[in-house]
Symmetry: C2
Subunit: 281 residues, 2 copies
């Protein structure tokens, strides 16, 4: 914090780690609403929910997904979250199953007091998602809001350093990560999750705040690993990792504009000024 | 390991963590030689030494550096290491202070049984290095050897995800990292080093073996943090982290060609095939 930034706004982020139930959209929206109201009561103004929080993750068929996915905006889940954001004067980022002109996307809605702000469609699809979803076609948008400049990445997007680099270079300060992390091959289940290592590295390398909301539970045989995490723009955890199996809400209060000073490492070095774009090709 | 790769060659890597003494090139070369012979006797065939292992790191003046830096190949340190590699039939990567046509580079030599194989010049200069060295002008070479395809990065190069991405996309299998890691701002000295987090993430995201040889000790008031590390292409440590203060030699035996299978994560995903170069711009 420097004298120039200390009067800039802070925001309290909440990452809601919970267990959506496959196919139970109404029950999932009720569970989300209860937890969002609780986080709001604790002072959160930017609330992040897991990937596919309304539908669940392990689809048996395209028909099952088709019966659950809805338009963003306009669909049942999107309108429910927009109304909640408007009522509580908060911002919500949530993974949702999106239907658009007969295609399906693993998407995230971003909504706020003003309603629907934008949509992100997951660029990098993991495993059997490739059977059901189209790859994202909306790029890597950065949303300029009163809270700060917000980007979104979903789960396997975080395995690509380009995701965070591009978002940071487009001006993002805070990346919200709705996710459904699964165990990685070769991962010692007692060790720190590789997902946490990747996101700490991305936060440090890019001077980004990163807020990851994972799910928990085992769905149709697929385990999810919890360990949601809110990371400072230095790369060090501000809250979490959350439990590996239990529901939990993480909170951290940040000043998004602090990324400017955190990217300046010393009198000689700043993260973006030091890039050798002449070499990277 | 798959049936196709199990007959491909393995190599034992050693990372030599030691304490070079500022200005004492002859003593440093003697210390290097003693440790290289010891690692060779233990079966190592690819040996990685720290950044600026012949000169030390904290220069008082350009004149001091000018009196220490030498050509690569041809200079005292380069020829000493090349002769040692030839005699022992091994490969050595070592940080050296390089002089070239009146300019100075924070470089690494790569030499083997055949003599000088190549030179890498650090692309991203940290802190006061900017006062003494030119930025590297040899790009990010990948050296095709009987051991495998070898790339080199030095210390702060590892803060740039592009370094590892570019090397991997150019075919590298093993990255040797001569380094002089210093404490990072905001780093809890008891926590895992951010440098280790960054290199584990880079190894995992790119399917690269990474061998980091750091120095230890305090030189003219500047502490170095040790914690050398050899990392599997899955991102998990194979050896280390080494001690934070004591000299140590790490060993790991790898099969560089295994990167091909480690980059294929499942029937749907492979690290490079999944990149969205249409989006990254």
């Amino acid at each position: 914090m420097t004298p120039e930034t200390e009067d800039k706004p802070t925001v309290t982020i909440a990452c809601i780690q919970f267990e959506p139930i496959i196919g139970q959209v109404e029950a999932n929206l009720a569970a989300i609403e209860e937890r969002v109201r609780r986080a709001h009561a604790r002072g959160a103004r930017l609330i992040v929910l897991p990937e596919l929080a309304d539908s669940g993750y392990v689809f048996d068929s395209s028909e099952e997904l088709a019966a659950l996915a809805q338009p963003i905006p306009g669909g049942r889940s999107a309108e429910h979250l927009c109304a909640l954001a408007r009522e509580l004067d908060i911002y919500i980022v949530s993974g949702l199953a999106e239907a658009a002109e007969g295609r399906f996307y693993n998407s995230a809605i971003f909504c706020g007091p003003e309603g629907h702000i934008g949509t992100y469609r997951k660029l990098h699809l993991w495993g059997r998602e490739n059977l059901f979803f189209e790859k994202g076609d909306l790029g890597l948008p950065v949303f300029d809001t009163p809270l700060g400049r917000i980007g979104i990445a979903i789960c396997y997007d975080g395995w690509f350093p380009e995701t965070f680099r591009q978002l940071a270079m487009k001006g993002a300060e805070v990346i919200c990560v709705p996710t459904n992390w699964v165990p990685m091959p070769d991962q010692d289940p007692k060790a720190e999750a590789m997902s946490n290592i990747l996101h700490k590295a991305a936060a440090h390398s890019n001077g980004l705040f990163i807020a990851c909301a994972d799910r928990v539970g085992i769905e149709r045989g697929q385990p999810f690993i919890g360990q949601s995490l809110i990371i400072d723009a230095t790369g060090w955890p501000l809250a979490g990792p959350a439990d590996r199996e239990q529901e939990e809400i993480l909170y951290a209060t940040i000043r998004p504009s602090d990324v400017a000073t955190k990217r300046k490492l010393n009198e000689f070095n700043d993260i973006f000024g030091d890039r050798r774009s002449d070499v990277y090709g």
